[in-house]
Amino acid sequence: MPDADIATGTTRRRVLQGLGAGALTLGAGRALGADVRLPLPSDPRDRPMTGAFPQKGSMILQRTRPPLLETPFEVFDQGVFTPNDRFFVRWHWAVIPESVDAAAFRLAVRGNVERPLSLSLEDVLNLPSVELAAVNQCSGNSRGLFEPRIAGGQWDNGAMGNAKWVGVRLKDVLDRAGVKAGSVAVRFNGLDEPVVPDAPDFMKSLDLDHARDGEVMIAYRMNGEQLPLLNGFPLRLIVPGWYSTYWVKMLSDIEVLDKPDESFWMKTAYRIPDTPHASVRPGETGFPTVPINRMVPRSWFTGLANGAKVKAGASAPLRGIALGGDRGVKAVDVSTDGGATWAAAKLGADEGTYSFRRWTFDGAAAPAAGGKLEALVRCTNADDVVQPILQPWNPGGFMRNGVETLDLTAA
């Protein structure tokens, strides 16, 4: 009875609107979109800022329901870790629990296991804890910057964040349940649900060996606090070095599978071309695809934005952040001659393989006579994977990682 179900969703929405007459209802009675202009290649570029979401500060509103909240880029200049109240938010389905009872919550571990488990949060907290810094980046971060443009969440570069995660090893939880021989994958589900029950519930899976690598963890703390509701309270899967789609929020169900996961979010959605740099020509069809997986290196300028003025005849104060992807940052290099030559930037403290790393560069001389200064920044990771100068393209708008350019004016 899909008609009845969608009517329920509509009714619920109207009820919430009734409750929220005013403060909770966004966008009532005014034109939207004048607060921030994102540097996208074409309209619409304007977005409202919002401070209306629980446990969140000022965020770029990409979509109210289900929420897509982007971190304003200046936050990445303020420190290598992203504050919880500025950390980006992305949900697929609109039925998101608004209350979570820490005493009643249970995490199920089931499927092809010797001993199915129903773990309370106390059970989870009593397992050995581990801490890891890791960047959580949306597969479609920066999708709005692709040309040709691609349908989907029109993010600038702020669908990412870095946090110190504390939790328990997924391996320890799986060992407690006893994975049976013949198991091949582990599937993860959270408390969110589609509005239409027939729609594919959001679930993701990892190969068993990956799930048991000792790094994949179930986090209950983020930057020293419990997770914000919208970032997955009380438990979230952390898959270091892999895109955020695998980092299942409000993790409530772990299912060990004895055959590969054939469900929608693995078999059909979040697929990338199985080609170098996941690159295809716009319009190309017939290429093989694989599930999106490891992150690739990226680097950004922070502090100075395109069009900023710097002092003529002085060294431009270039700085930013870099991400190695599934390996650590080996080097960050800057070019001021369009990529013909590169010079090493100075790297900041190493917070771990999967963390952002700060960089600074004082070798970019702004012309004494004034004029333009163009700088490029490029990250090389510990596997010697380098950011491409020319941005590859894929139909999902995933994995953007081309070299970033900063245009400055010396005066």
């Binding site: 008609d3 969608i6 939207l32 619409p44 304007d46 209350s99 979570v100 443009r149």
Partner: protein, 142 residues
């Protein structure tokens, strides 16, 4: 559906008031009983009002309860706006569509097909065609 802490606390206070009404007694012993009962009710209400927690190994996780913002933004007026407003606000707010770049009719047709066939949006074929018509005329951001 979770019962909010406020509801639980309210229930405890109501129960305490009923208890007071029943226990109420004019003599000294009765007054003491009333006072004790009232103190117990206040303590129970405070406990019920306090968020439930899970603690172990020096870490405490505290229950949370919020109301997420919603949106009353509708699609700009135009031919077939009723079709998109009637079919496309249940699962996602209009901002999802109104932040999209200008897409071709074929791309919009693909998006609507995905919503109906993959995401099971219960939209009639007539309304789906009207929604595609609306989207093909959309000039986002202008």
């Amino acid at each position: 559906m979770q019962i909010s802490f406020g509801t639980v606390a309210f229930g405890v206070v109501v129960a305490a008031a009923l208890t007071l009404a029943i226990v109420g007694s004019p003599d000294e012993r009765g007054r003491r009983q009333v006072a004790e009962t009232r103190a117990a009710a206040v303590a129970a209400a405070a406990e019920a009002a306090a968020p439930k927690t899970a603690s172990a190994d020096g870490v405490t996780l505290t229950s949370v309860s919020f109301t997420l913002p919603t949106s009353d933004r509708e699609y700009p007026a135009g031919p077939h706006a009723d079709a998109i407003n009637g079919n496309c606000l249940s699962c996602h707010s209009a901002g999802m569509v109104l932040t999209q770049p200008e897409l071709s009719r074929a791309e919009w047709q693909g998006e609507v097909n995905k919503m109906v066939k993959v995401y099971k949006a219960p939209v009639s074929p007539e309304d789906a065609a009207a929604v595609v018509e609306y989207l093909a005329q959309l000039k986002p951001g202008r």
